[in-house]
C-alpha cells in the first residue's frame, strides 16, 4: 500500500509550536508511506489540489492529513480524496491542532506527539478498506416540538413548502410566550394581533396536524425515519365535539384554579379556555382543582355543555407518528427568582415578574388591561423596574445576559405611562443593551419622551413599609444610595431552558448546557443544526432571543428541513457494524446490548446468526465490545485497526521491555 502524509501548518496555529517540516520528514521513514510533505493550509484550494496531485502522480492508495479536528474538516478531505479517484474512506486524519499545538508550548514535546499521532493514523490507514454508502428512502414529514412563535413559523414554512407537519404543543393552546405579551418592542404592536393570524393559519393549514396538550414520550429511529410516540394528555373535553362556546366556563363553580396562562396572577375556572384567540379554541379541565375530580360531586359543565363534549373518564392516548426530521422549538422559562431573598423571595404580593406585568397590561388579562396591584387592586402611581434579576449574576449561577429584558423593560415603562399618565417609573439597570434596528432609539424614547427615570445601579433590597415598598439601591453615576417608595415592583427575570428541556434533549439525543439550552452544531456556522442528523433547533430553546430572531430561526430550521427533503433518498453512513458469519455463534448478546434495536436474528443453513440492519445502526461499537467471538466488527474501527494504532504507539516501549 502506498500512503501519502500531509502535515498542515494552519498558518501559525500548528507551525507555531510544532516543527511540521520535521514531522513530514520523519513520516517518510514510516512503513508504507510513499510520500510526505508539509503544507501551509491543507484545507485551502491549493492545499487540496496538492493532495490530489500527489495521489495521482505518486499513485497513492490513501492519505493521512495531520491538521485540525475531523469535526471541522474530516468531510472536506474525504471529498478531496474522492476527487482524486480514491474511496473516501481511504483517508485518516491526525488532530495535531486541538490535541497538540493549542494545548502545549513545548515545541519538542509537541513535535514528538504530532509524530506519534501521524504514526497511529498511518498504521490504521494501512488496514482501511473501501466502504460504500447505501441509499435509503426518507419520510418527508416533519415534527415540530413547541407551538411558540418559533415553532409556529417553522411549521408554517415547512407546510407552505409542501411538507406534512406534526406540531406538538405541551399546553392546551399554541402561541407560547408571545401570546402572553401585551405589546412588542420597538413598534408597540399588539402582540396577539400580529401572532393571532399565524396561529389561525396553523389551525387551518391542510398540511399541519396539531396536537395541543400533548408531549413526546419517545423518539426512535434516525434521520429520514424517526418514529415518535406522542402522548395526548387528557383534557376531559372531547375536542372533536367542543365548539369553544364558553358556556361551561360561565357556570363552573370552581374559580380557584391556578391561572397558568396569566402567570398565576389571580385565579381562573377549573374548566377553561386560556384566552380568546387560543388555538385550538377548546375547553379543558384542570383535574387538580376541579370539584368533580376532588369530591365526585358537581358535573355542572357536563350539564351545561350543549354538545355533550365533557368526558371525566378520558385517559391519556398514545399516537405514533413517522417523520423524517424534528425541529425542537420548546422555548424558555423564567429562572426561579425566589432565590433573591433581598427582593422578598416571593413573599411580597406586589413584587412581580415582568411576564406577570404583561398580563396586567393586556386587555385579555385578569384585570382587563387595567394596571392593578395584586395585593389590594389599587392603581400604582410609582412603579420600580429592576433589571438583571437572574441575568449576569454569578452569585445565583446565571452569568449570562438574557438579552431581551432591557428592551421589554423600556416598553413596559412606556406602557405604564400610557395606562397611568400621572405615574412615575424608575428603572434600575446595569447597562442598557439595545443592539437592534430601532432598539436604542426606543430606550431613549422611554427616557426622554415618557420620562422613565433610569438609575444605573443594583437594588440591594426591597421591603414593605406602610402599604408601599421601599426599594433601596445605588446610583453608581451619582455615587449615592437611592431609596424609592414604590407601589409596585417589576422584576426583569432572566431566561433559562424550559422546564423539562433536559429530559427532552435526552430523548432527542442532542446535547444541552447547564442552563437547559440546547447546543447548536456550530455556534457561528450551524446555528439551527444539532449534532444529531435530522434534528434542528429554533428560537429560545437554543438561548434567549427576541421575537424577530426566533422567527428567523424558525424559518431557517424550516429551510434546513426543506433542503434535507429535497432529495428522495439519503446516503447511509457505511461506518456500521457487520457480522462475520463464520465466527458468529448466534448467542445474540449483541442484540441485547444494542441501544438502537439494529441487530436481528437470521437463519443461515439452519443456524442462528446475528444480522445488522444497516440503516438503523448508529456505529456506536457496543456490539463489538460485547461479542465474545470478535465476530461483529464496526467497519472503519475494527479491532485490528484499533490494535494496530495502539501497537504503533507503544512500539518504542515494547522494544524497551523486550530489551
Amino acid at each position: 500500500m502506498k500512503i501519502g502524509v500531509f502535515i498542515c501548518h494552519c498558518g501559525s496555529n500548528i507551525a507555531g509550536t510544532v516543527d511540521v517540516a520535521k514531522v513530514a520528514e520523519m513520516a517518510k521513514s514510516l512503513p508504507e508511506v510513499a510520500f510526505a510533505s508539509d503544507t501551509m493550509y491543507a484545507c485551502s484550494e491549493p492545499g487540496q489540489e496538492g493532495i490530489i496531485n500527489a495521489i495521482k502522480e505518486k499513485g497513492l492508495d490513501g492519505a493521512v492529513v495531520a491538521s485540525c479536528t475531523p469535526r471541522m474538516h474530516g468531510p472536506t478531505f474525504m471529498r478531496t480524496v474522492a476527487r482524486a479517484g480514491l474511496n473516501p474512506y481511504m483517508f485518516e486524519m491526525a488532530n495535531i491542532r486541538e490535541h497538540v499545538s493549542w494545548i502545549g508550548k513545548d515545541k519538542e514535546a509537541n513535535t514528538a506527539k504530532a509524530l506519534d499521532l501521524v504514526r497511529m493514523a498511518v498504521a490504521k490507514l494501512a488496514r482501511n478498506k473501501p466502504l460504500f454508502a447505501k441509499s435509503f428512502a426518507i419520510n418527508k414529514r416533519v415534527l415540530v416540538l413547541g407551538g411558540g412563535v418559533a415553532g409556529i413559523q417553522a411549521a408554517l414554512d415547512c407546510a407552505d413548502g409542501g411538507l406534512e407537519v406534526v406540531l406538538v404543543e405541551k399546553t392546551t393552546t399554541i402561541g407560547g410566550k408571545m401570546a402572553k405579551l401585551d405589546k412588542t418592542f420597538p413598534t408597540v404592536d399588539c402582540s396577539c394581533c400580529i401572532l393571532g393570524p399565524k396561529m389561525v393559519d396553523v389551525a387551518q393549514h391542510p398540511n399541519i396536524t396539531l396536537y395541543a396538550s400533548a408531549e413526546v414520550d419517545e423518539i426512535n429511529g434516525y434521520v429520514g425515519n424517526f418514529q415518535v410516540k406522542v402522548r395526548k394528555k387528557p383534557t376531559y373535553v372531547d375536542w372533536k365535539l367542543c365548539t369553544g362556546c364558553g358556556a361551561c366556563l360561565e357556570k363552573c363553580p370552581s374559580k380557584k384554579s391556578p391561572d397558568l396562562f396569566n402567570e398565576f396572577v389571580g385565579t381562573t375556572t377549573a374548566i377553561n379556555i386560556p384566552f380568546p384567540q387560543a388555538i385550538p379554541k377548546k375547553a379543558s379541565i384542570d383535574a387538580g382543582s376541579c370539584i368533580k375530580f376532588k369530591t365526585g360531586k358537581c358535573g355542572v359543565c357536563a350539564k351545561v355543555c350543549p354538545v355533550k363534549a365533557i368526558n371525566y373518564e378520558m385517559e391519556p392516548e398514545i399516537v405514533t407518528e413517522e417523520v423524517g426530521a424534528v425541529i425542537a422549538a420548546t422555548g424558555y422559562d423564567l429562572m426561579d427568582w425566589t432565590v433573591y431573598e433581598q427582593y422578598g423571595g416571593g413573599r411580597y404580593k406586589d413584587v412581580i415578574t415582568s411576564l406577570q406585568y404583561e398580563r396586567l397590561l393586556s386587555a385579555s388579562g385578569p384585570t382587563g388591561g387595567h394596571i392593578k396591584r395584586p395585593s389590594d387592586g389599587k392603581e400604582p402611581k410609582t412603579v420600580v423596574f429592576i433589571q438583571c434579576v437572574g441575568s449576569r449574576d454569578k452569585s445565583v449561577g446565571r452569568p449570562y445576559c438574557s438579552g431581551f429584558c432591557c428592551m421589554y423593560t423600556a416598553k413596559q415603562a412606556i406602557l405604564t405611562k400610557d395606562h397611568i399618565p400621572d405615574s412615575e417609573s424608575y428603572v434600575f439597570y446595569m447597562d442598557i443593551r439595545a443592539p437592534g434596528k430601532m432598539y436604542d432609539e426606543f430606550t431613549r424614547r422611554a427616557m426622554e419622551e415618557y420620562g422613565a427615570k433610569y438609575v444605573r445601579g443594583r437594588v440591594s433590597m426591597v421591603y414593605p413599609s406602610g402599604g408601599r415598598y421601599v426599594v433601596r439601591g445605588v446610583d453608581t453615576l451619582a455615587g449615592t444610595q437611592v431609596e424609592v417608595e414604590a407601589d409596585l415592583v417589576v422584576l426583569a427575570v432572566g431566561a433559562e431552558g424550559a422546564a423539562g428541556a433536559a429530559h427532552l434533549a435526552e430523548k432527542l439525543r442532542i446535547s444541552y448546557d447547564s442552563y437547559g439550552f440546547y447546543m447548536e452544531s456550530h455556534p457561528k456556522l450551524k446555528p439551527v443544526e444539532t449534532n444529531t442528523a435530522g434534528v434542528y433547533v429554533a428560537g429560545c430553546v437554543q438561548g434567549p432571543k427576541d421575537i424577530p430572531t426566533s422567527v428567523a430561526q424558525g424559518s431557517a430550521a424550516a429551510a434546513k428541513v426543506l433542503a434535507l427533503f429535497s432529495k428522495d433518498q439519503l446516503q447511509s453512513d457505511p461506518q456500521v457494524s457487520s457480522v462475520d458469519l463464520k465466527r458468529c455463534v448466534g448467542c445474540m448478546k449483541c442484540a441485547m446490548t444494542c441501544p438502537f434495536g439494529a441487530i436481528k436474528e437470521q437463519e443461515v443453513r439452519g443456524e442462528i446468526k446475528a444480522q445488522v440492519i444497516e440503516t438503523m445502526c448508529q456505529g456506536c461499537g457496543l456490539c463489538t465490545a460485547t461479542c465474545p467471538q470478535g465476530a461483529i466488527q464496526l467497519q472503519h474501527f475494527t479491532d485490528n485497526q484499533i490494535l494496530a494504532e495502539i501497537n504503533t504507539l507503544l512500539e518504542s516501549e515494547l522494544e524497551e521491555t523486550q530489551g
Binding site: 431573598e341 433581598q342 423571595g345 413599609s465
Partner: protein, 293 residues
C-alpha cells in the same frame, strides 16, 4: 444523651457591656446539655480596629485564640456568642488555609498554627443545628405567650455567606424559628439584616440615630412589643441609645431589646435575674408582667 462539648470564646464585650449575654448564654447552654470550656488565656479578637490596620496582625490575634482552643480535648468546634468575634475568628480561619498567609501570621506567633483548625460557629448556630428546635420546644416550661417580638439579626451574623456558612444572608430564619419554638409571636420584620450603625455610635452618633431609628420604627409599626438580637453592639445601639434615638427622631419608643439567650432562658424557667434582665436599659418588666398575667 451524649454531652455536646465546645471550646467557648466569650469575647471582650461579654465581660463588660454584654455581661448579661454571656451569663444567659452559659446558663442556657448548660440547661440544654451543652458543655462550654473557656479557651485558656484567650485574647481580644481584634474587634473592628485590628483588621482595618493590618490583616496579618488581625489574623495573628485570632490565630492565637484558635491555637489555644486546640489544647482543649474532646471538642469539635469553637463557639462564640458575639457576631463580630465570630466574623474575625472565621475570617482568620478561612485565610489561614492559604499557606502564604499562614506563614506570615506564624512569624508573629509564639505558638504557630499547625495542621487543621477547629471550626468556628456561633452559639446561635449550634443551638439551631446541634440542639435543634424539636429539643428546644420540648424543654420549654414557660412559653412566651402573648408576646410579639421582632427578630433582628444584624448585618454581619450571616455575611459574607461564603465564610459564615449559616442561614440565609438576606432572609435568615434562625431567630424566627427559635421565637416560634419558645411560643412567642414573631412580628413581621423586613429589616432583619440591616446595619444598626455599629461602632459609629462613638464617632458619628447621627448615623446610629438614623439607622437604628429606622429599625425601631419598623418594629413598632409592625406591633412588636420587643426586639431580639444576637449581637452585643446591635443590642447596645438599640437599647442603651434608645433615648438618644428618640430625642433625635422625635419618637417615643419604649422597646425592650433582648438577647435571644435571655428569652430562651426565661422560657426554660430561669428567673429574670438569672438572665440579667436588670442590666437592660429599657426595662422589660412591664412587658413580662403583662405576659405573665
Amino acid at each position: 444523651m451524649t454531652t455536646l462539648r465546645y471550646a467557648y470564646y466569650p469575647g471582650c464585650s461579654g465581660l463588660g457591656t454584654s455581661k448579661e449575654y454571656d451569663m444567659s448564654t452559659r446558663a442556657v447552654c448548660e440547661a440544654l446539655g451543652m458543655e462550654l470550656i473557656d479557651i485558656p488565656d484567650w485574647n481580644c479578637c481584634g474587634s473592628s480596629p485590628a483588621h482595618t490596620v493590618d490583616d496579618r496582625l488581625a489574623g495573628a490575634l485570632s490565630a492565637r485564640n484558635l491555637v489555644q482552643a486546640g489544647d482543649i480535648e474532646g471538642v469539635d468546634a469553637i463557639i462564640t456568642p458575639c457576631p463580630s468575634c465570630l466574623a474575625n475568628l472565621k475570617t482568620s480561619r478561612h485565610r489561614l488555609q492559604k499557606p502564604e498567609f499562614r506563614a506570615e501570621v506564624n512569624k508573629l506567633l509564639e505558638r504557630p498554627v499547625h495542621g487543621d483548625i477547629l471550626p468556628v460557629k456561633s452559639v446561635l448556630q449550634v443551638i439551631v443545628e446541634d440542639v435543634g428546635m424539636e429539643e428546644l420546644r420540648y424543654r420549654v416550661r414557660n412559653p412566651l405567650k402573648d408576646m410579639s417580638i421582632a427578630p433582628y439579626y444584624g448585618c454581619i451574623m450571616n455575611r459574607p455567606p461564603k465564610i459564615m456558612e449559616f442561614d440565609s444572608q438576606e432572609n435568615p430564619m434562625a431567630l424566627d424559628n427559635i421565637l416560634e419554638a419558645l411560643g412567642a409571636t414573631v412580628a413581621p420584620f423586613n429589616l432583619k439584616v440591616e446595619c444598626c450603625g455599629a461602632s459609629f455610635g462613638v464617632a458619628r452618633r447621627d448615623i446610629v440615630e438614623r439607622l437604628s431609628g429606622k429599625l425601631l420604627n419598623l418594629a413598632a409599626e409592625n406591633k412588636a412589643q420587643a426586639m431580639v438580637t444576637a449581637c452585643p453592639l446591635c443590642q447596645m445601639n438599640l437599647d442603651a441609645r434608645q433615648n438618644q434615638i428618640n430625642v433625635a427622631n422625635s419618637t417615643n419608643h419604649v422597646m425592650p431589646i433582648f438577647y435571644f439567650t435571655q428569652l430562651i432562658g426565661l422560657a426554660l424557667g430561669f428567673s429574670q435575674s438569672q438572665m440579667g434582665l436588670e442590666k437592660l436599659v429599657v426595662s422589660p418588666r412591664e412587658l413580662l408582667a403583662g405576659a405573665a398575667g
